[in-house]
Symmetry: C2
Subunit: 491 residues, 2 copies
């Protein structure tokens, strides 16, 4: 794979001098058009062999273009807030907004490769991580990002020469660390593992470009050309063709649905309810304050039709928790910073650290519910959301989160009763709008969307709990019970 990047590519200085101004002008121009349109972000992943000129190239990019709209991120060791969140969290935080260029130096490839080289990762885990990267990059491209992946290569001989050269000059000696020499010792293994990684992640939507790094002129102009070509094509509207995800199956022909299969008649009398509520709240209080919780986090998701009782159920849960422990995130319209990022970004930013809980009142499932039904998201977008969501939740669980998701399910008749009751209660009138009535007309569409959602996103690490909610007392107790069970099982 790297053979053609070990043949000593080089260009004369004169050619570089001649061509550089043209590239500069062209790149700056493309960057300005990117910024003006602000329709998509550019993400440049920079990886490769030590000493192959990664840093120099990034510096050149910053020199050639307007550095005010470039965000260069270098990833070093994990900070303590990164350590107890999913490993992709810090990359999500570093994503450039639409219209900007983000250069990621030491990207999501660095740790998987280095840990495999060091023998810390089994083959299976390594491959799992690469698969996750493929999904992540596919998501970025689906969201419109222009993803450019540059791999800077050096032959073993060239690397040794380069490191020695750097070490021999006073001004550059600081750049060669002990770690670099240690990496050099495992050059063969590194190249071997990298080859596997590149092969597994060179997809149609996010191919690698390999650049031989020994000659400054060749390396720089090659990188410039790759960037120019990619930006120019994308600005012309050329986008990689992505095969569509599998559509949800047609509704079953016998007309039976998951939600209809629940028993909505179950009730709890006030007395029993209050006794049970006290007991369960006390239990939840103990569970969330326990020592074991300090090593875990809690992510709760509440979804349901309008008037299903999300708010009132959440209000039975929060009093059992310490206010310092949880944060409640109501999902409303995104801010403009959120709109400039991929769909899941606004949820990733709230991922809790260990010893903390986040409760989402509506969530990322909006995409496969309201956005699907109302046509706010294209079919391609909501269909891919199932897989992206599963991946997101799986990562949460792997990093120590307990993910509990509740669908508060009411019947259409009960919704009507509640709407009417709200209309008649003065201080609840504000809770019912024309939109609620409009949504209600689409009940069958929503019911189907919920069915598909549960079918596709009720996973082993993050299953759905469907709570028959026609009786509020029953629903609250049921939710608290399931929640306590999930936490107990996980701790």
């Amino acid at each position: 794979m790297f053979e053609s990047a070990e043949i000593g590519h080089k260009l004369p200085k004169s050619r570089f001098k001649r061509e550089e101004p043209r590239f500069r002008k062209r790149l700056l121009d493309l960057q300005m058009r990117l910024l003006e349109k602000s329709k998509f972000p550019v993400i440049i992943v920079v990886n490769g062999v030590d000493g192959a000129g990664k840093g120099e190239t990034v510096n050149l990019f910053n020199e050639w273009m307007d550095p005010r709209h470039i965000r260069t991120h270098a990833f070093g060791g994990l900070t303590d807030i990164e350590r107890d969140r999913p490993e992709m969290w810090r990359f999500w935080q570093a994503l450039p907004p639409k219209g900007h260029i983000g250069i990621l130096f030491g990207s999501w490839y660095t740790d998987p490769i280095l840990e495999r080289v060091a023998g810390k990762d089994h083959r299976a885990r390594f491959e799992r991580r690469l698969e996750r990267i493929r999904h992540f990059e596919r998501m970025l491209v689906s969201e419109g990002a222009l993803l450019i992946k540059l791999w800077f290569h050096l032959s073993k001989k060239a690397q040794k020469k380069r490191l020695k050269e750097l070490a021999s000059h006073k001004e550059t000696a600081w750049r060669v660390t002990k770690e670099d020499w240690k990496h050099f010792e495992s050059y063969d293994k590194f190249v071997d593992v990298s080859e596997d990684a590149l092969r597994a992640t060179s997809t149609g939507e996010a191919a690698w470009d390999i650049i031989e790094g020994s000659d400054h002129e060749y390396r720089s102009l090659t990188a410039a050309r790759i960037l120019e070509d990619a930006l120019s094509a994308r600005l012309k509207g050329e986008r990689p063709v992505l095969s569509p995800p599998a559509p949800p199956p047609a509704p079953p022909i016998d007309g039976r649905t998951l939600l209809a299969s629940f028993d909505y008649k179950r009730k709890l009398e006030r007395d029993t309810y209050e006794k049970k509520l006290d007991k369960l709240q006390a239990k939840l209080a103990m569970l969330t304050r326990g020592r074991k919780m300090r090593e875990r986090s809690l992510v709760l998701v509440f979804e349901g039709m309008d008037a299903a009782g999300k708010g009132s159920t959440i209000r039975r849960i929060t009093p059992a928790m310490d206010a310092r422990f949880y944060r409640l995130i109501p999902i409303a319209a995104p801010t403009d910073e959120e709109r400039a990022q991929p769909y899941l970004w606004r949820f990733w930013r709230h991922v809790p650290g260990h010893g903390r809980a986040v409760i989402f009142d509506r969530s990322w499932y909006g995409r496969v519910l309201v956005e699907r039904v109302e046509g706010f998201a294209s079919e391609f977008d909501w269909m891919r959301a199932y897989g992206e969501i599963n991946e997101f939740e799986e990562q949460l669980v792997e990093s120590g989160a307990i993910v509990a998701k509740f669908w508060l399910s009411i019947t259409s008749g009960e919704q009507l009763r509640r709407f009417k009751a709200r209309k008649e209660t003065p201080y609840k009138r504000f809770k019912i709008t024309a939109e609620d009535w409009r949504n209600r007309k689409k009940w069958p569409d929503y019911a189907r969307a919920v069915n598909d959602m549960v079918e596709r996103t009720s996973t082993d690490p993050a299953p759905w709990d469907i709570i028959a909610s026609d009786d509020k007392h029953f629903a609250r107790i049921e939710t608290l019970e399931r929640l306590c069970e999930r936490i107990e099982a996980a701790l």
Copy 2:
């Protein structure tokens, strides 16, 4: 000061039961109006003696109101990204946006008090910290925030009783830590220091409310009443009267100005310029890559009239730095998340950690320049900005930042030449707009604003460098020289 909070205040349970629903309804209603208007944030600072019911009260607030619009922050030990930034940084990050309620548990008071109690802080430093808090709170209130400071108190006897009580029940024993008992041992000292702190920070705009914490009913209803009264008054438009800051003095009667006193005739020929540029860039490269830089950060500010050469000067600095080291922040219109926060928030969020640089292309000085001249900020707002900015920069310097500020100064004649030249160069035409010509008409107002700015914000820790910039070569070399000097002096 605490005497009246040691007299055993208490209320019968029956009264609590009777009054609680009224407070609940009222607080929820006020909260909804706050959210609807979204004109100001509510910041509730919760401090006091251990075991005095701080946590219980915060939990009650979250229960009584809609927790979706309350952000509760508990501050524990410093994370590593907090450690190499100013101590106020984490509180800035925790400020609630307009329309929301932020509850700060363990606020900016905690460390100053505990460190003074532990004998780590001299009296003078303690007082300096309290002064800074006064300025910070005054800023918050000036920005429109409703600031409520609750101090929960217990007599020594009551605290001992409370701790013993908690420790004796299985369900609550976990809440009493060794640290709590250690704190109890220094009760007298703690109360003594706290009294000093409260007295020094009970200002007209941000007074303390002291609540005796031994009785749940008394404590809760008192806190509820304070919150209700404050919110209701503020929503009616009642605001604390803030004495205006001192206005800048009238211009000197001889008409001489600071900016006019520079020699704008100095020039550098291309040859000398290029030689010097190479040398200075190499020097800057070494300085910013040196070992000492890892313990410091760099904050550069570039300001100047339109066409003064900010962009082109910055482009002579960035190539000397590693792209991983610096971040360039162009200041344009704020995002909606930024608009929902105090003025300086959008700059605080970019404060670099150690070993990193941030370059601001325009900055927080916009408030005393364009916003003053164009009337976008009220006189009260831009006049207080001088002090707030000085405080901000002082904190940066204390936390290890090297702050260098450049005013690129051109004469009115030179600006005119450059505007005309831009108009005539096709690829530069986009750089000159009708607004630039409008601004130009206000030259004398801007000149006065610059004078006042330099006079009021050129401080010992963060002085201004004024660079005569009619000759671009001279200006770039001068800037690089001053920058290198500042870094060298600091390291």
